[in-house]
Subunit: 377 residues, 2 copies
Amino acid sequence: MTMTAEAAAARIAVRVELGTRSYDILIGRGLLDVAGSEIAARLPGARAAVVTDRNVAAAQLPRLAASLAAAGIEVVPVIIAPGEASKSFGMLEHVVRQVLAARLERRDVVIALGGGVIGDLTGFASAIVRRGMRFVQIPTSLLAQVDSSVGGKTGINTPEGKNLVGAFHQPELVLADTGALDTLSPREFRAGYAEVAKYGLINDAPFFAWLEANWRGIFAGGPEREHAVATSCRSKAKVVAADEHETGERALLNLGHTFGHALEAATHYSDRLVHGEGVSIGMVLAHRFSARMNLCSPDDGRRVARHLAEVGLPTEMRQIPGELPDADGLMALIAQDKKVSRGTLTFILTHGIGESFIARDVPPAEVRAFLRETLEA
Amino acid sequence: MTMTAEAAAARIAVRVELGTRSYDILIGRGLLDVAGSEIAARLPGARAAVVTDRNVAAAQLPRLAASLAAAGIEVVPVIIAPGEASKSFGMLEHVVRQVLAARLERRDVVIALGGGVIGDLTGFASAIVRRGMRFVQIPTSLLAQVDSSVGGKTGINTPEGKNLVGAFHQPELVLADTGALDTLSPREFRAGYAEVAKYGLINDAPFFAWLEANWRGIFAGGPEREHAVATSCRSKAKVVAADEHETGERALLNLGHTFGHALEAATHYSDRLVHGEGVSIGMVLAHRFSARMNLCSPDDGRRVARHLAEVGLPTEMRQIPGELPDADGLMALIAQDKKVSRGTLTFILTHGIGESFIARDVPPAEVRAFLRETLEA
């Protein structure tokens, strides 16, 4: 009960404004222990399926299940294999059929307990069971807390590409228990941190400066962590509210992602480079390419690289273990990315830290030349 | 060109009002031949994937492909096996991957050419490729023209039940070529006609009376056919506009369907009873059950049965070949139906022809007793 009281005290609420589909993101230590009462208050009488992976189940499911039981919420657990390979059609079918077999109705709820893979897969499953079940996100990785659990993008991968199949499906509630991040590996924590830094780089220079001064508190689990998660969620919520279905400004959230995705594809989505590491290198490249196009100062790219390197993230393509494709090979991967529209290249470029913008019609020849120079440097 | 001019002259347009997602249903003979120009006018520059089954491809695809080519629309055909078994996760994955392999972008279009199975499967695939592709319905069965192609319900079946997995995804355009119905088998045409009659029974007694007087013209392919399809679409469009996601009045469209689905399940969705035949028997049962509950006159049920029998539809459970479950068995199937909510039974009942209403909390004991009497009669 002390835990509950503490959690209530430390909690930060961020509202995602989407009309009748608006919802809260609650951020704080110990929220897993009050998940039951928070859900019961919003969805009275609902039964729940909890989708999670074996690793998260071992670490967090008992606490969540106890909290749901205490609130009188009947739970059906659906436990799947961890890892990106679970974002597949086969696993989607498995989860969907488990939810159907549990005889949940449209007014019941599907809960995603885990990182980005669990959130994306479970959100998509909940979008299509009975043409839309209610859905709660309980993200347990930093990446999921600041990025993938917010905004309603759900999906799976196919051999044709990542996240090319999915739905926009907003949750009823997001519970980000910052204490759950204590058990992440340092590499996984850092990878999530790249997305935190991204919000400063997009449009919040003071936040980036605050991160430069305070990142150690975020990693150590001080109150800086809740502030960083809340600031990130607030920033993403604002963008999503303005452009839910990514027809415009939401693309800013892809800062660093076009280069990053190409590098992830080049390394076959392997352990050589995890998503946040690709984003880290991609953000540095986006700043350097912007400087090359005379859009910002080269000092900006140096400052970005210095901070990301300081927290332990890779910032250079040469830090990726193993061989990389040449510039033409990377260009081919960039052209395959879904953010290519009618043959022209759209990039998120920047006028400086906190001044990113959507650049359409970026000349492919300039990108190719930039990549060649960088790879040969 | 004569065909085109004729089609333009005979065409009826029905608007489905859904705000920014409003769209037209065009109804007339020969529309397949002008599909290209209609689509190009609405979606300039779009490329197209056409999903159809082997049977429809043989009968209609050359005409559609010629029309699209004439309008400068590049086409990728996706031809699948005919039959309800194609509404599966496996076929969904196949269609999705074919659309991705064709490298269609979000601004391109996926066209469903076929009956209800093709429309439901293709609509669902287009809802989830890139989180939502544009979609055009070209229904070639009477059932699809008056019911499944209108309203945005898409989906597939799983072993847990029919249509339990899917999405609400509205088309950009529906083209109902009434000439395509000339090649339907009489049984398939009659099955679609059950849904036409349904619109009269729900809330349009004059339309039901008009059908009693004019059904022969509909079957023979006279101008009565376009009038009947347009009246049906107009009726459905109105219900859908008022309740897109079926939280209320849209349930009226399920008149006859709760009994009908149970009978379809009882005959294992086999050739013993096709959907429209189940609806025909189900509508008669709904009127008789309403009379038994003193909600309408027994004469109404007699009149409904007389008309449906006149066109050649089954109206009695004993007309279904083979064994049926007993009343308890049928009740178990009714309870499995997705229109069961929190353990209470919701039925569409009626105060008379054209006066249907949603009855919640129908006592299961009354339904069971009614079924027992009917089966033993």
